[in-house]
Subunit: 330 residues, 3 copies
């Protein structure tokens, strides 16, 4: 139901006095990066900046006091689940966690629409993580309460893409003119697909560095090309390292390769260490969606350009902003 995402919900049985029904995004679902234009992003980032400021000043505050988030995770994701939980709690709200889905009604065969309609009897907003693409859209079709997609398989993970873009904006300012280099597994990395799509809203240059078998999918490249954004592909970071403003690293998994020998041949090319950083710009940033295994050496962590732990923190502010907005409080 992406086509009518902007329809305002007015039937909430828990509509408290004081909700601003005319607030932007009030009652809307957050399902895909495709639903946002630049104005939307600026609005979201503006609220996220306010959240960041409030967290720095007072830690938490009661903007969503009395509101309940149902955190429905059909597959584990400590990071995303904790981030939404913290976001809700820093806004004074409460969380119902349903992340042992293998034990639950769901494992007795209950359908996602039924689970969602049950949970909305108890909660004000639903965050859904599900292994199947399209599941967030399905849930949103049945739910009267807003649904936020926290990753649906090879589909979308819009809050990750928003926090990635927000990180770039906060660390480097307006993305206009930046060179963003994506490195590693660009084929299976949902993260880089969404970020590439979002970046088409800005005048950036994109470099894709990956092993031959893990190239950025044609589908994504076609979409980016349509928007007139410059894209170039490489199998080695060296040629573009010196010009890169944002180096976005993803893990290259051994399992993707036909043989260990094939993997051994390329793996060194996709590891960032102090020597790599020595040849990078002084004011670039190094990003990673985490968890990181060996693709960024721990020695890099103390480099001020290493932005991946700050990236986690930006994620908190983005999720606080989204929760406040869909609940009509920002």
């Amino acid at each position: 139901m992406i086509h009518n995402l902007s329809s305002v919900r007015t039937q909430s049985p828990y509509l408290p006095f004081g909700d601003r029904q005319d607030a932007p995004f009030y009652g809307r679902d957050i399902l895909s990066v495709k639903q946002f234009n630049r104005g939307d992003l600026e609005m979201i980032f503006g609220v996220a900046r306010e959240m960041k400021e409030m967290v720095r000043r007072v830690g938490s505050f009661d903007l969503l006091k009395g509101k309940i988030l149902a955190n429905l995770f059909y597959e584990p994701s400590t990071r995303t689940s904790s981030s939404f939980t913290a976001a809700m709690e820093r806004l004074g709200g409460s969380v119902i966690r349903i992340n042992e889905v293998h034990y639950s009604s769901v494992s007795k065969g209950e359908s996602l629409p039924d689970t969602v309609r049950t949970l909305e009897a108890y909660s004000d907003v639903i965050v859904l993580r599900h292994p199947e693409a399209g599941s967030a859209e399905l849930a949103a079709r049945y739910a009267r309460k807003p649904v936020i997609n926290a990753g649906d398989g090879i589909g979308e993970h819009p809050t990750q893409a928003l926090l990635d873009l927000f990180t770039i904006c906060e660390e480097l300012g307006d993305p206009k003119g930046l060179t963003v280099t994506m490195l590693g597994d660009l084929k299976y990395g949902r993260t880089v697909h969404s970020l590439a799509r979002l970046l088409t809203l800005y005048d950036v240059r994109l470099n894709y560095v990956s092993p031959e078998i893990l190239r950025m999918p044609a589908e994504v490249m076609d979409e980016v090309a349509e928007k007139g954004i410059s894209q170039r592909e490489y199998t080695d970071l060296e040629p573009v390292l010196a010009e890169t403003d944002v180096l976005y690293v993803t893990r290259v998994q051994k399992e993707r390769f036909a043989s260990e020998a094939e993997y051994d041949q390329v793996k060194g090319l996709y590891v960032i260490d102090s020597q790599t950083m020595a040849r990078a710009k002084e004011d670039m940033i190094l990003m990673h969606p985490l968890p990181r295994i060996t693709e960024i050496a721990m020695e890099v962590d103390d480099d001020p350009r290493a932005a991946y732990f700050r990236q986690m923190e930006y994620g908190l502010y983005i999720r606080m902003a989204l929760l406040a907005m869909v609940l009509g409080k920002a």
Copy 2:
């Protein structure tokens, strides 16, 4: 210890100023539907109606602020666990979840009395789900804090029965004179046993529709008969559909039958679809304890008589009422 359920507890180490020790149900356990008379039900439903009104008006409020619920689940039940969690959170209280009991001290062999006495050092009220009948009573015998039975095996699930009855009262008014038809697996369905028992407090007519091998147990029928309530048994819904005010559906599981052939023979008789609803009263309601698999077709969900999702919401109000009452706040 059902015989002395009404004994008031006065030794709580956490007794805060302002608890109304003379409040009805203060400090009591909620273990069985057998502990309630009509006056009790009216009191609980009165409080539940206030909860419903408050939730509609303000969403949440701080009646139980500072109180802690220990949600102790020895078997999974997303629905019941989430409902109690939401109930506590909408009242401003907090929840400690212990529902990975397979990992816990319990799996090291600790007894239920010890677990309960440990948890009450941290909490103000304990909600217990346990696979063994009688376990809630055992827990209550050792706990100084109130224990609420959230289902003990083939034993009781009193809050489910209360929410079922509350649904009937809210949707159709005084149950007096209503025809309530229970359909499906009446032998193993703890839910229908408890509801049938509770309904004996009202002047209703009961129909039981089930396969021969899944008939309502004689024990329950004897109890109902003693109260002078009319009961009739059928293997087919058709003869009573037109006169039914409340159709309570439960799932008929394939596993109950000796052979798949035997199951296939009857299963069609216990599925509700639009055609069924077309022959039902205009002002009847269709109930189901959920999760629903195939026994009610999804096409029925939009029928205003389909009450099963509203039933979930009534459950929230009932559990809010019970928590507030046993903690002396209502």
Copy 3:
């Protein structure tokens, strides 16, 4: 990094107005009993007593409102996890639970330092339970937020030792001159090692009663001896029962013995029942870290000298005190 535990952290990105940075223990990690001197203990116990008084009077209060605890459990411990959760909630704070670590990023190979640095983006204090000795220290080295060790394998479990000592002080007053008898498995019992170490700060006499193969390790005995504390070893409780002020019981597990026959020979010596208690002092106390299986008969539970359930409650106050102190609020 135990040597610089007392370094004050001043870089917290969430430093709210009003935190008392000059408060004792502000921003410090709680990693080992070795970090405390008697003055520290008296300060902690003083705050714990205030917590006890506040809980008795008002149940909960908002000292840590807006603060978030990340409860990171790499192995299950219902008791400890619930106790910290309750402590945080009784202080008005919130909790993020990460205790399905087998599902989490960690199982994808993420390092503890990375997990900790991610969680501190969301939380104000981290409680860590981990199977490997030294892990709490490792986490603290990387975290900017305070880390509290909730047990790291055969390493330390300082909050358990503190609550054990606090129980003795609250039940019997100044430990000076008390005879403390530790019974059962003294070899593998992390609890008794830490308690013995802590008790060296007081002028007590220690008895160790255990099977030959489960004697108190030489390493611990050497440390205790260095402080000039009297220690005696026995294989039978009888000789010291009558003089014992504190009897601390731990479980003797069958698995520790070469054969069932060997176990059967000794097990009776390490079970406390009413007959044992009949020969004990009138004002002694019986302690146990729980869970208890058969090593203390249930018939003893009603004996006023049975302190093990009260011990759980003292644990709540100790953990409330520590959380408030490291967060600069006490």
